[in-house]
Amino acid sequence: MNALVPLPVLLPVLGAGASLALLHHPRIQRWLSLGVLSAVVVIAAVLLVEADRSGPQTVWIGAWPETLGIVLVADRLAALMLLVSAVVTLAVLAYSVGQGMTEDEEGAPISIYHPTFLVLVAGVANAFLAGDLFNLFVSFEMLLFASYVLLTLGGTAARIRAGTIYVLVNLLSSTLFLISIAVTYAATGTLTLAHLTQRLAELPDHVSLMIQLMLLTTFAIKAAVFPLSLWLPDSYPTAPAPVTAVFAGLLTKVGVYAILRVQTLLFPYSPLTDLLLCAALLTMIVGILGAIAQSDIKRMLSFTLVSHIGYLILGVALASRAGTAGTTFYVVHHITIQTALFLVLGLVERRAGSTALMRIGGLARIAPLLAVLFFVPAMNLAGIPPFSGFIGKVGLFQAAQADGGWLAWTLVGAGAVTSLLTLYAVAKTWAVAFWRTPLEAHEALEAIGADAAVPGHDTHARQHRGHVHTAQGTVSRTDIEEARRLEDDDAPDRDFHKLIEAGEDNRHSPLGMLVPAAALVAVSVALTVVAGPLYALGTRAADDLHDRTAYLTSVLTEEQP
C-alpha cells in the first residue's frame, strides 16, 4: 500500500501539466481535473483505512540512502486531513465548473484556473504528507503560489489590492520559515522530522526554544493566529466565491496542521501551554468582535474563520490527548463547514447581486433552498447542539476542564462567549439578508439618497446624526453611502429590490453550483451522524501523535529499502 502515498501529490501535479497542455480544450480540461480529484478522494480514503488498520504508511522518495532522501508519511492524522481536503476540493472544483468560471470574469485567462487549482491541491496534500521540514516548505510554496494566482485572477483593481497584501505577508512568512530551516539545520544537521525528534531534545534548551518559536511564528502566520491574522479578512473576500471557499477551508488549516505536527512530534517536552492559550484566547475574542462589526457577509465569515482558529489552537495548547483529539475533530468539522458556507454565499451573491448586508433582503422567501443551505451550516458554525460544531466544542471544553488551570478555564468561558457571539453574528445576517423584505432594504438605502428630500418623519426611515433609523433598527449612514458607491465587478451598484423590479435578478441558480454546495452541506451534517466513530478515530490519531513510536518506527525502519 506504500506505493499509494505519493499519489495524492503526483496525480494533481501531472494533471496540472496535462491540463496546461489542453488549454484550448476546456471541456476535456474540466473532466480531467474532476477525474484527478475523484481519484485523490479514493486514494485518500484507502490510505486512511490502511493507516488506521496497519499504522503509518511511509515512502522514502527515490530510495536515497540515509538522511538524503525525502520522506512522505501518511499516519492517521495526515490521512484524515488528506481525505477531508480531497472531498472539499472536489466539491469546490465541481462548483466552479458549474459556475462556469469564465462568464463573470472579464478578460481573465480562465483556462489557467484548472491547472492552478490542481497545483494548489497538490501543495496541500504534500504539506500533509511531508516528513521533513524542507519538503514542508516546498509544499507551502506550491500552495501559496497557486493561491497568489487564484487570488488575483483577472487582475481587477480590488484583487490586485488584496493580492498585494496577501503576497507580501506570505512572502515574509516563507522567508521566516527558510531562516528557521537554516537555523535548524545548523543546529542539528538534519531536517527529517523523525531524526529531529532525537536531535532537538539533545540541544541546549534555549536553542531548541528559539527554533520552536520561529517555526510556530511561521505557522501562526499561515494559520492566522491572532496578532498575525490581520491579513486574512482583507485578502480572502475579494477572490471569486469558489476560491475564497477553498482558501478559507484549507489554507489556514494547513498552518494549524503544521503547528500540531511540530508541537507533538518535535517539541513534546516544551508545550508552551500558557503562550498558546493566550494566543487562542485573543484569536477567538478579537476575531469574533471583528465579525460582529462587519457589514458584508463574506467579510463577516472571514472574521469568524479567524476566531474559530482559536478553538483549534486551544486543543493544541493543552498538549493532552483529549485536546489533540478535540482539535482533530474540530479541524475536520471546520474545513467542511467553512467551505460549505462560502460556497452557499457564492450562490447568494449570484441570486441577490451582492453580499453587502445593506443591499439584500428577503432571501428566505425568494430563495428558500438557499436559505436552508445557509441556515444549517451557519447554526453548525455557531455550535447549536445536535450539530458537529457543538460536539467539537464540547470535546475541546472537556479537554480544557481536564487541564484544570485557571487559564484553561478562562478559555472555556471565552470559547462559550465566542460561540454565542458567532450565533449573534450569523443571526444578524439571517435577520437582515434573509428575513426582511427587499423593499425594506431598498427603503433603508434609499432614505439616504437625497439629503434634503427626506424630511425625517414621513417615511419609515429617518435619518439622525449620521445614522438612518428604520423599522429594523439603526443603519449607519456612511455605511450606506459606501454601499451605494461601491462599484466593483462582483457587485453592481444596485440593491436587490431594484434588481427584482427591473427583472434583472438571477432567478436561476445553476444546478452545477447548487449540487456541490448542497452536497458539502450534506457532508457537514453527516459529520454529526458519524461523530462517534470520527471522534474515536480522532482519539486514535491523537494517541499516535503523543506516543510517537508508531510514526518513528515506521519512518526509521522504512529507511533502508
Binding site: L68, F134, V138, E141, F145, Y148, V149, T152, G155, A157, A158, I160, R161, A162, G163, T164, I165, V167, L168, L171, L172, S174, T175, L178, I179, I181, A182, V183, Y185, A186, L191, D234, A293, Q294, S295, D296, R299, D451, A452, V454, P455, G456, Q463, H464, R465, G466, H467, S476, R477, T478, D479, E482
Partner: protein, 162 residues
C-alpha cells in the same frame, strides 16, 4: 561547528537593509527589500552548511573527506528558484497596480477604512450631542460651516462627509 563570521555579518546586513525596505509603501521598494532578505537567507544557509570544502562529488575511490555539505546547497538552489518566480510575480503585480492606479503603493483595505470612519463618526456624533442642545432631525440639512465649526471633532465630521 565553526561559523564564518564574514558570511554571518553579510547575511545580517542584508536582512537588516531588506527589513527597512519592506517597511516602505511602494511595492517595488518592498520587492527589493524582499530580494535582499532572500539573499541574506541564502547566505545564512551557507553558514548553516558548515565550513567550505571540495565540491560534493564522490570520487570512484569513495573518498568523502573534505567534501562540503551538499544538502544546504540543494536547498539554497530551491529557494533561489522560488525567489525568482516570486520576484516575477510581484513585478507583474506592481506593473498591473501601476496600470490601474498610476502608482504601486500598497493600499489600505477599503472595508477597514469604512469601519474606521464609522467609528470616528460615532465618536463625533456623541461629542456633537454633548455640545448642542437637543434637536431632532437631519444634521446635514444645515450649512456645515455654521455654528459648531469651532468644535474640531465636528469639523472633522464635516470633512469626512465631504
Amino acid at each position: 561547528m565553526t561559523v564564518n563570521l564574514t558570511l554571518a555579518l553579510t547575511a545580517a546586513a542584508l536582512l537588516g537593509c531588506g527589513t527597512y525596505l519592506v517597511l516602505e509603501r511602494s511595492l517595488t521598494r518592498v520587492l527589493v527589500g524582499l530580494v535582499m532578505i532572500g539573499n541574506g537567507t541564502s547566505i545564512a544557509f551557507l553558514v548553516a552548511g558548515g565550513p567550505s570544502g571540495r565540491a560534493p562529488i564522490v570520487a570512484k575511490d569513495g573518498d568523502t573527506t573534505g567534501l562540503s555539505d551538499p544538502l544546504p546547497q540543494a536547498m539554497v538552489l530551491t529557494a533561489i528558484v522560488i525567489m525568482l518566480a516570486t520576484v516575477a510575480f510581484v513585478l507583474a503585480m506592481a506593473y498591473r497596480s501601476w496600470q490601474l492606479n498610476g502608482h504601486d503603493d500598497v493600499q489600505d483595505d477599503v472595508e477597514d477604512d469604512i469601519i474606521r470612519r464609522l467609528a470616528t463618526s460615532d465618536v463625533t456624533s456623541e461629542a456633537y450631542e454633548a455640545t448642542t442642545s437637543d434637536f431632532p432631525g437631519d444634521d446635514s440639512s444645515g450649512d456645515p460651516g455654521q455654528g459648531p465649526d469651532d468644535d474640531p471633532l465636528v469639523a472633522d465630521e464635516a470633512e469626512i462627509r465631504s
